[in-house]
């Protein structure tokens, strides 16, 4: 897990970040270089961090139902910044029928509530 930098971020107005922090902690414990942004971040700031810190994987957590609005914007801004290949993983309260749309949008993987942490850590190791 060396040289793999993960950024866990919360965008939009949602303040629920127990999940984001628990995932970040699990990655940290697995030896991953991980950072958590805190809540209510702007997409442009997240994109800037991924460039500045040469982030390899971006993890976004959504619990307030704004993911279908936010994710296309994230994708667009990453593309504009030349980071369209950055793997994005998404977790939180997401309806099953939305998953294919998210994958089509370019999201690498969606983790639903109840996913064991080991599964998330394991997946990140494969990227």
């Amino acid at each position: 897990m060396k040289n793999r930098r993960v950024l866990i971020a919360k965008i939009g107005l949602d303040g629920h970040d127990r999940g984001a922090k628990v995932v970040a902690r699990a990655l940290l414990d697995a030896g991953v270089d991980v950072e958590y942004t805190g809540i209510r971040q702007k997409i442009e700031d997240i994109v800037a961090i991924t460039i500045q810190k040469d982030v390899h994987i971006l993890g976004l957590s959504f619990l307030s139902g704004d993911h279908m609005t936010m994710l296309p914007k994230v994708m667009k801004q990453l593309k504009d910044a030349g980071k369209e290949t950055l793997p994005i993983i998404v977790g939180g309260i997401i309806l099953k029928h939305q998953i294919p749309h998210l994958l089509e949008m370019g999201v690498k993987k969606v983790f639903l509530p109840g996913t064991p942490l080991q599964e998330i850590v394991g997946f990140i190791e494969t990227i």
């Binding site: 127990r18 628990v22 970040a24 307030s64 309260i93 309806l95 099953k96």
Partner: protein, 555 residues
């Protein structure tokens, strides 16, 4: 006691010993949800040295362990108050009228994130959030629609609102006035507990000092003008949802309460003028006995603090009145109908714990805004428990259970340990800012996740008794109409065209002056919302004066 000790030893050596030799117990150590070790059996030996009168007394008497009122549910049942609100004001009005028609006694308002964070619906940062997790409100116009046909002198309303609580209360007072109901008659609650927002939930706007000033503006204003209003609902629920154990939840709630009370006293208020209108909220998790013990310990501990530490004289200041909520994090998205059973248990804990108001979650909450059907089932759950199960016949029915009494004592003691530690740090604000509260929660939530992942903590449908192919339940899931955002923005444009904009700028200017002088903002806010100034406009004045707070992040 000696005789009992001998008898117990005999039992252990004979009856019990024989069985244990044959078949050991399922676990080496049994513990509560929060990790308190649980013995095989509890007897009067576990309560040795305790005094009934001092520890328990009678309902309605100090230290209120057995309940805050003398007759409890024999006199009046708890208020069934389920959290609701979504989409536009019209959508929410329809849902509220439906729930009231179905026998719900009080409203509990859910606001969307822009409303909670002081943004108008047309602010670019709100895109995707309008009407999502609650109703979208921009101005008095929306409030008028929400309460159309709902008489505010009869219905009580609880609002889960914090950073913008003074604005929402001002809107409520203004809409009541339009209905011809004077503020003296209003009943309800503003959550108005900003401290926990810095740790859990996250809807803070301003730095801690300004935030607490605003919260106390409500306390002070209502003490003088809205006597039946519960000015704060100091909440442990959100700590629990952020990962706290039952003990941490109670400790941080009481530590927050201590902070608000100290700040109010510094401001020159008399404790007995405002403490009777403070109310409390604790979560209902999954361990029934531990939860009931937590509520009982909360009442006793709090009454003692009010009496000894704050020298309150009015017995109403001693009351830890509880509004409880099903902890959403105990609900499981896999096989979600099972959540009805979990929620039934939550309500049962609240009833056995002697709560004044109870919220029952909807089984589909893990996915989305509850549908009308699931909202009705949540309400019916409380009605069944209230009318069919004999739960209201006597006060504190678990009181006197050796186990529950021992747990109550244990939780009280451990909570006091936390409170001492927080006092040593100089109080809750310091404990939040130095990361202590955060680290405690993180420790517990990581530990909980570890237990779930390892299967040590069984969650039916998630890590045991799972199903490969689940029945498609999502087809019934209620989704917010994407149109809400467009409608809300259109309404806002119209409003800004049609109102008296001169009057709006005058009231906003006046608000800026009130803030500069450090006066209570409430009278001025009521004026501002009556001129149809929007929540965003009002909060922008405050942002300009106080700035915005950025919370430190740790993992």
């Amino acid at each position: 006691m000696q005789k009992l000790k001998d008898q117990k030893r005999r039992w252990e050596q004979t009856t019990l010993g024989k069985v244990l030799a044959r078949s050991p117990e399922q676990e080496e150590q049994f513990v509560t949800e929060s990790g308190i070790p649980v013995k095989r059996i509890y007897t009067p030996l576990d309560l040795e040295g305790r005094d009934y009168g001092e520890d328990l007394s009678f309902p309605g008497e100090f230290p209120y362990t057995r309940g805050v009122y003398p007759t409890m549910y024999r006199g009046q049942k708890w208020t069934m108050r389920n959290y609701a609100g979504f989409g536009t004001a019209e959508d929410t009005n329809k849902r509220y009228r439906y729930l009231l028609d179905q026998g719900m006694a009080g409203l509990s308002m859910a606001f969307d994130l822009p409303t909670q964070l002081g943004y108008d619906s047309d602010d670019p940062v709100c895109e995707g959030s309008i009407g999502r997790v609650g109703v979208a409100i921009d101005s008095l116009e929306d409030m008028e629609i929400i309460f159309k046909g709902i008489p505010l002198n009869k219905v009580s309303t609880s609002m889960t609102i914090n950073a913008t609580a003074p604005v929402l209360l001002a809107l409520y007072i203004a809409v009541a006035e339009k209905q011809g109901v004077p503020q003296e008659q209003l009943m309800g609650t503003t959550q108005n507990d900003i401290l926990k927002e810095f740790i859990a939930r996250g809807t803070y706007i301003f730095p801690p000092d300004a935030s607490i000033k605003l919260a106390l503006d409500i306390v002070e204003y209502c003490a003088a003008h809205v006597p039946r209003w519960n000015t704060m609902n100091i909440a442990g629920y959100h700590f629990r949802e952020a990962g706290a154990t039952a003990i941490q939840e109670l400790a941080f709630t009481v530590a927050d309460a201590i902070t608000y009370i100290e700040k109010a006293l510094e401001r020159g208020l008399d404790v007995d003028d405002f403490a009777p209108r403070l109310s409390y909220s604790l979560g209902c998790y999954m361990d029934l006995f531990e939860e009931v013990a937590k509520y009982r310990a909360a009442r006793r501990l709090f009454a003692t603090i009010m009496k000894n530490r704050f020298k309150a004289k009015n017995p109403k200041s001693y009351l830890f009145r509880i509004f409880s909520g099903s902890c959403g994090s105990t609900l499981v998205t896999q096989q979600p109908i099972n959540n009805i059973v979990r929620v039934t248990m939550h309500a049962l804990m609240g009833i056995l714990g002697g709560h004044q108001a109870i919220h029952t979650a909807c089984w589909d909450e893990g996915y989305a805004i509850p549908s009308e059907d699931s909202a009705r089932v949540a309400l019916r759950t409380q009605q069944i428990l209230a009318h069919e199960c004999g739960l209201c016949n006597t006060s504190d029915p678990l009181g006197g259970s050796y186990y529950v009494e021992a747990l109550t004592n244990e939780i009280e003691e451990q909570t006091m340990g936390y409170l001492e530690k927080i006092d040593e740090m100089g109080g809750m604000i310091n404990a939040i800012e130095n990361g202590y509260v955060y680290r405690e929660l993180q420790k517990s939530s990581v530990e909980f996740q570890r237990k779930v992942d390892s299967g040590e903590r069984v969650i039916v449908g998630l890590n045991r008794f799972t199903m490969e192919e689940e029945a498609a339940v999502e087809q019934d899931i209620f989704e917010i109409d994407e149109e809400v955002e467009t409608i809300q923005k259109r309404k806002l444009t119209e409003l800004k065209k049609n109102r008296n904009n001169g009057e709006v700028s005058d009231t906003l200017q006046k608000l800026a002056e009130v803030i500069d002088r450090g006066d209570n903002v409430m009278p001025c806010l009521i004026e501002a919302v009556k001129s149809y100034a929007t929540i965003g406009e009002i909060c922008n004045v405050m942002r300009a004066k106080w700035g915005e707070y950025k919370s430190p992040t740790h993992i």
